[in-house]
């Protein structure tokens, strides 16, 4: 054992490829990240950190100055001057479910029908999407993939953004059922001449339909042996035995309260997805122990008269109220900008480490995977990223290393390859990393 004094730098070998990155090999040798600021994801940070991981799990996290290790046993990553974070976890996305938004043949997140709890996003997940590597390059290592459309669009899964097929990319399969709560307001007019948004007079009827479906599902779940197998009701069982989460998508304060109180009747504590007006009812949310997947914070205010920076400061208001929440950004390719949702919140008052939490441990908690991943802590998955600068600020964000379960991820992507192709043609240089 010798005191760490010298620094060995790993030479990275990039694959030159057409956006088709090869999934990483399992971790074969322990890795030591030495130096740098470690943002642990749990609200804490270590300024001069040492982190080791082995067989895909974090073994040690601590202050580099106080640690003695045999460096020869490790692949050593020089973290000096850099920032180390848990890999970001993006909830409520369509990554791998859509390749090109406008091309119907590539859209696999919407199924026919209003109530589709048995439909599973997992099996449509495309591990070879050309979009996913561009998201990874910006630090997102895991994502919840969620179907859309109808009242109950189906089941979501948590995926690792690296794998040969959906089976080995899955992290937590079929972990939740999504419910689109009816809109209490209804839009009128059309896109060129929007009319006012009026009260939805079918609201009660729509809620009654949901209630009927849940009542029947529950009755079915309580039967010892149903005479006829109903796949929809089979899928719903998980909500009543606690093995699956219920994600309710809604934004207005009153609708959130109604949805939560409704779910409580089934002994379900739902996760709210959306929650744009959550800041108005923090006491209620706290009282009912509600977790929130907060929609896009780099957004316009809901109402004309709202504070102009309301969406930017909502995360801080939830944090102050002690609510468990995480950031999110709808869609697939858009996830490359996931981290900046948190950066924007920092600009408007959120503590930096809390912002990181909202991208990592907060998301893991909401998704129910925080015992395995989401923070830089001993025993957790070695899902880690390293950036040259502050990752929340596009001015400084340059991701240099990424690991999922200790597997070193290829940060190249199709876009870098195209850029290389044409800069070579023109004989010019632009920075690709």
């Amino acid at each position: 054992m010798k005191h760490i004094s010298s620094i060995i730098i790993i030479l990275l070998s990039f694959h030159f490829s057409w956006g088709q990155q090869t999934p990483a090999e399992p971790q074969s040798k322990p890795v030591l990240i030495l130096g740098g600021t470690a943002h642990l994801g749990n609200g804490k940070k270590i300024n001069n950190a040492a982190i080791t991981f082995e067989n895909g799990k974090i073994v040690f996290v601590g202050d580099a100055a106080t640690v003695k290790v045999d460096m020869s046993k490790f692949d050593v990553v020089d973290g000096k001057g850099k920032h180390i974070y848990p890999g970001f976890i993006a909830p409520n996305t369509q990554i791998g479910l859509v390749e090109v938004d406008a091309v119907r043949a590539t859209r696999d997140f919407y199924e026919v029908g209003h109530f589709n709890p048995s439909v599973r996003a997992l099996i449509a997940y495309n591990t070879d999407s050309r979009v996913t590597p561009t998201i990874r390059s910006n630090g997102v290592m895991m994502a919840q993939i969620v179907p859309k459309g109808g009242r109950i669009p189906g089941q979501s899964s948590v995926m690792m953004l690296d794998g040969w097929n959906w089976e080995d990319a899955q992290y937590k399969a079929d972990e939740g059922i999504h419910l689109q709560w009816p809109s209490s307001f209804r839009r009128t007019g059309w896109w060129a001449a929007p009319g006012p948004i009026q009260k939805n007079d079918k609201y009660q009827e729509q809620i009654a339909n949901i209630k009927k479906f849940f009542d029947e599902s529950k009755a079915y779940a309580e039967k010892a042996k149903p005479e006829t197998i109903n796949l929809k009701f089979e899928a719903m069982k998980g909500l009543f035995d606690g093995s699956k989460q219920l994600y309710i998508h809604t934004n207005f304060a009153k609708a959130m309260m109604e949805a939560i109180l409704w779910a409580k009747e089934y002994d379900i504590t739902p996760v709210i997805v959306g929650g744009k007006d959550a800041w108005q009812i923090t006491d209620f949310l706290k009282e009912h122990d509600i977790k929130i997947i907060l929609k896009k914070t780099q957004d316009l205010p809901v109402r004309e008269y709202d504070d102009i920076d309301q969406p930017f400061k909502t995360p801080q208001m939830l944090e102050d109220a002690g609510i468990t929440y995480c950031f999110s950004l709808d869609g697939a390719w858009e996830q490359r900008n996931y981290v900046f949702q948190a950066g924007q919140a920092v600009a408007f008052g959120l503590d930096y480490e809390d912002a990181i939490k909202g991208l990592t441990l907060g998301a893991a908690k909401v998704l129910g995977i925080d015992d395995q991943v989401g923070s830089l802590e001993k025993g957790k998955d070695a899902t880690i990223i390293i950036s040259k600068g502050d990752v929340l600020d596009m001015r400084t964000c340059v991701i240099e290393y990424a690991f999922i379960n200790g597997r070193k991820i290829d940060l190249d992507n199709k876009q870098k390859a195209l850029s290389r192709k044409f800069t070579k043609k023109f004989g010019i240089d632009v920075l690709h990393d």
């Binding site: 948004i197 004309e304 102009i308 950066g343 596009m394 001015r395 632009v430």
Partner: protein
């Protein structure tokens, strides 16, 4: 109690038929009547402000013969004594559709396919929304129900037209009497009516407000050409009618204050004067509307208070809707005070019966009774050039007048009769003179004795039996055909009485409680009636209500007073000059709207000195591609070329996103037409002068631009499977559109220069400007093949393609772009949203810039536009551009692309003071714009913004309290509704609130 003077009672409908219809055969005995009536001893309001008491009016053959005090009454006249009553001229509505046929479409439009031409057969105009040939006098049919309703409101004559189309044809002035149309039409043509709304037309064009504006402008040109040359080439009934109608007053329907100002611009362009039918929100831009000098027709539609009892639902009501609820009733008073001439109309009222009530409300809000009466009588008469016929009571005019029990605008005023052209209509009978006066009476029914209390409220009596001052028994009472009937319950049993009466006593027979036929009698007691017994409905004359401020724009964060330019000295900041000096720490002085000095240790005298040590100061961000602040449609995509339309005509100053953009340091933008067609519309290039009018926002003398578009949008690839009709459907066809149009434009230019007569064509004029390099193109583009194609088209036709916007594959042909001289305005990192952007890369901007293409970043998005500084920073992240160069991507470079760099885009002495103070390095996500100046005027200040939020909270609370108060007082309320914020952008399907789409919308149009 009213003194009872009159004892005439009319048949409920018609008193007499005045005029005979001379050309018609007679069936039965000839029955001519002179209709000679005298109304004496009345208070006559002959015209606004002219009141004569104890006066008389003599009418004959439907016309007024004499009016005044001391006029002699002809011996053969039927005389009515109207002592205590008032006579006014009947009201006039000049914006009616009385007796008009229901508007209907000429045919139907194919499902999800364009209808290129009109469905109307015949030698009419190509566009179905133009119907100048429609004549109200030809279409007019009397409608007794409608006429009765209008007479009930006090109207005697209306100008009616069919409310349908952009040109709606002519209006006719008609009497609201009964009879044949021949007799009732007073004037066949009073006005030509126009609007921006295309009504029942199913034709695709125009689909946007700017399209309507272009269509109207082109029609003026076409009509002019037709009268000079065109008539030799074709017969066009519509254009002939249009030219005829031009001689009449032109009445233009507007749906909001900005539409009014837009229509005025058309009037000015063609040297016309319009009368505007307003919408009731004129007070929101009063000064500008006053400056038009145009007379108005104003509805008295005042919104009901919102039901704000549920706090969450109430939250959805916009502040502007709440404020409008409070201020709308003050609109007429404000117009009058500003000296604007206006007529009032019941048009737009859901319940017409609210008309007079709402006028009284307007009077409580400061409108004088004289102005109100003028707006109902003399002003409409004058605007229709019918003042010799109607509007006042003087000899020779139509005998159109109303009889009221008290001054018409007082509480409790009732219109008893409405005389129209000498036909008398009874709306409500007069109190009979033989009814019991107020007092306490003895009522003896057989052997039973009762105390009867009679009270009068206005013209309604109330009868009660009182016992020991404790119990009241209501007495049902009727007086008809000189017979009085009473009924009431005594110990649960009915007493029924009938008989005769005079003012102080009555008698007769009836049934007592046991059903016996008995005599009864009423005699006075001389006991005084107690004061409190008389229901005092009269509220104390209310003070003028206290109202909130009108703010500019009429939105949250609007100004009470427009901000002005100041001399501002900003010291010790890091200045991002965008000039060869680069970033320096120095002072900067703004004065007279310009940057007047830059240097260290400036000591100029200033209104405000700001120590900005540690802060960053830049020139303001310019967005090359935005779709905010646009009214009613961003695309006129109904034809493959819409070069004639212009966003500059539909700039919307009342969009809160202007303010939000200022908070992101954005000072100017090119507001672009959408990308639905290869040749789109002209741009509006504006500075974000929050609170100013659309015209004040437009940058004076900015180089004119037009939007072109290529690729999937123009070939309708993502509009659904049915959109396969409109040319072009492939990139091959797109080139043809351009080649064809520029070829035609060239020929048009040759014809124009030849001196031969030609039809001025707004589309061709625009294209000609492009060929002459007087107008510049910014072209929506993605794929390299089409970008290359358009540069080749431009080269063939002798001009340079100014800007490719979006240009996501620009990096593939950056060398060709540099050689051609085209600039690029791109997204930092968008891709994968449609097939043509699968090769988009975030290194595009860096590569273009390296290849010496003038490169900018744009938003195309109301949300992202206020974070364009972050988008610039992404080019540092992707591509490693230097920070100073990256900053130019959103400031100097877009200024260059828009030919605005002479005055904008950098911190340089003499340039416009469009300056932003940032809390830190503006490329950082943590940077906040603290102050934003445009032309030296501070339009945003983060500290003042906090105060504005507080004011918004207070104002909402005040209005909520006031609404709750009205609800508790029994006012009808309306359910909360939310004002929709619509955000246009080029390629994204909108997803407001992320909510379920309950309402089907057409999502296939990209913008």
């Amino acid at each position: 109690m009213k003194k009872l003077i009159l004892t005439f009672l009319f048949s409920p409908l018609l008193i007499s038929s005045i005029m005979a219809q001379k050309t018609f055969p007679q069936n039965g005995v000839f029955d001519h009547r002179e209709g000679l009536f005298a109304f004496v001893n009345a208070t006559i309001h002959a015209s606004p402000g002219q009141v004569t008491e104890n006066a008389s009016i003599i009418i004959k053959d439907g016309k007024i013969v004499r009016v005044g005090s001391g006029v002699s009454v002809p011996q053969d006249a039927v005389v009515y004594d109207l002592k205590g009553y008032h006579i006014y001229p009947s009201f006039i509505d000049m914006y009616s559709n009385y007796g008009m046929p229901e508007p209907a479409s000429e045919g139907s439009r194919p499902d999800r396919q364009p209808q290129m031409l009109t469905n109307k057969k015949g030698a009419y105009m190509w566009n179905e929304a133009l119907k100048p040939e429609f004549k109200a006098d030809e279409a007019f049919k009397t409608n007794t129900d409608q006429a009765k309703e209008l007479r009930g409101l006090g109207f005697g004559a209306v100008a009616t037209h069919r409310h349908d189309g952009i040109s709606r044809g002519t209006a006719a002035l008609v009497q609201l009497g009964n009879g044949k149309e021949h007799e009732l039409i007073l004037k066949s043509e009073t006005a030509h009516h126009m609007a921006f709304s295309k009504g029942k037309s199913t034709q695709s064009y125009p689909s946007s407000l700017m399209g309507s504006i272009a269509l109207i402008r082109q029609t003026y040109l076409d009509a002019d050409w037709y009268s000079k040359e065109g008539y030799k080439e074709e017969v066009n009934i519509s254009l002939e009618a249009w030219n005829e109608a031009k001689k009449l007053p032109q009445i233009f329907d507007t749906r909001d204050r900005l539409e009014l100002l837009r229509a005025q611009k058309i009037a000015k362009e063609f040297g016309l004067s319009y009368i505007f039918k307003g919408s009731g929100d004129e007070y929101m831009r009063l000064d500008n509307i006053k400056a038009t000098n145009a007379p108005l027709i104003i509805p008295v539609k005042f919104p009901a208070p919102y039901d704000v009892s549920d706090a969450f639902d109430a939250m959805q009501v916009s502040l502007s809707d709440m404020k409008h609820w409070e201020l709308a009733p003050s609109n007429p008073a404000r117009l009058a005070k500003a000296g604007i001439s206006f007529a009032l109309t019941p048009h737009g009222l859901k319940k017409k019966s609210a008309f007079l009530k709402n006028i009284k409300k307007a009077i409580k809000h400061g409108l004088s009774e004289k102005d109100a009466l003028a707006a109902l009588t003399t002003t409409p008469a004058k605007l229709m050039k019918a003042e010799s016929l109607i509007g006042t009571l003087s000899s020779g005019k139509m005998a159109n007048f109303i009889v009221t029990n008290k001054p018409i605008f007082e509480d409790g005023a009732t219109i008893h009769q409405n005389w129209v052209g000498g036909q008398g209509f009874v709306l409500k009978g007069f109190p009979e003179e033989a009814e019991l006066v107020e007092g306490i009476y003895n009522l003896n029914v057989g052997k039973e004795k009762y105390k009867l209390h009679v009270t009068w409220d206005e013209d309604k009596p109330s009868y009660k039996i009182k016992e020991n001052d404790t119990t009241d028994v209501k007495v049902k009472y009727a007086y008809e055909n000189k017979i009085i009937s009473l009924s009431f319950k005594d110990d649960g049993k009915l007493v029924r009485l009938s008989g005769t009466s005079d003012n102080t006593k009555a008698k007769g027979q009836g049934y007592d409680t046991s059903g016996r036929w008995v005599d009864w009698a009423i005699s006075p007691t001389r006991e005084p009636i107690e004061k409190e017994e008389k229901k005092d409905k009269k509220k104390p004359k209310s003070e003028q209500p206290e109202l909130g401020d009108v703010v500019y724009p009429f939105l949250p964060y609007g100004w009470k007073e427009k901000p002005k330019a100041e001399t501002v000295l900003i010291k010790n900041a890091t200045l991002w000059t965008n000039e060869k000096e680069g970033n320096i720490v120095a002072d900067i002085l703004l004065s007279n709207g310009k940057i007047s000095q830059i240097g260290e240790g400036l000591t100029a005298r200033a209104d405000k000195t700001i120590d900005a040590k540690g802060k960053h100061v830049t020139s303001g961000i310019i967005d090359e591609h935005a779709h905010i602040a646009i009214s009613k449609g961003v695309n006129e995509g109904t034809q493959y070329s819409s070069a004639e339309v212009s966003i500059a005509h539909v700039v919307n100053s009342e969009d809160v996103n202007i303010y939000r953009n200022l908070s992101g340091g954005v000072v100017a933008a090119q507001l672009l037409h959408g990308s639905a067609n290869p040749i789109g519309g002209q741009s509006g290039i504006v500075k974000f002068k929050w609170g100013f009018t659309p015209d004040e926002m437009l940058i004076p003398n900015a180089a004119p631009f037009i939007k072109f578009a290529l690729g999937e949008n123009v070939k309708q690839s993502n509009w659904g499977d049915k959109y396969t009709i409109r040319f072009p459907q492939s990139r091959m066809g797109v080139e043809e559109v351009y080649d064809d149009h520029f070829t035609r434009a060239k020929e048009y230019g040759q014809l124009k220069r030849s001196g031969k007569p030609y039809r001025k064509d707004l589309e061709m004029e625009t294209l000609l400007e492009i060929l002459e390099s007087k107008r510049f193109i910014t072209c929506h583009s993605y794929v390299q093949s089409e970008i290359n194609m358009l540069m080749k088209v431009a080269e063939r036709h002798g001009f340079t393609l100014n800007t490719f916007t979006h240009i996501l594959e620009g990096y593939k042909i950056a060398d060709k772009m540099a050689k051609h001289g085209a600039g690029g305005s791109t997204f930092s990192d968008w891709w994968a949203y449609k097939y043509e952007v699968i090769d988009a890369i975030p290194y595009n901007a860096a590569i273009l810039a390296k290849m010496d293409v003038v490169t900018a970043l744009n938003s195309d998005d109301a949300e992202m536009s206020r974070r364009l500084n972050q988008e610039a920073a992404k080019v540092v992240m992707y591509g490693g551009m230097s920070e100073e160069e990256a900053w130019k991507l959103v400031t100097l470079n877009p200024a260059k692309l828009l030919h605005l760099d002479k005055n904008m885009g950098s911190l340089k002495v003499g340039k416009d003071a469009d300056v932003v103070i940032w809390s830190e390095n503006p490329l950082s996500i943590y940077a906040k714009a603290e102050m934003t100046f445009v032309d030296g005027i501070k339009f945003f200040d983060r500290q003042e913004d906090l105060k504005k939020r507080e004011e918004i909270r207070e104002e909402r609370n005040r209005l909520v309290q006031k609404m709750l108060g009205e609800k508790n007082n029994g006012a009808a309320t309306q359910a909360p509704s939310m004002k929709r914020q619509h955000h246009y952008h080029c390629d994204h399907i909108d997803d407001e609130m992320g909510e379920h789409h309950e309402h089907h919308e057409d999502h296939h149009h990209d913008h």
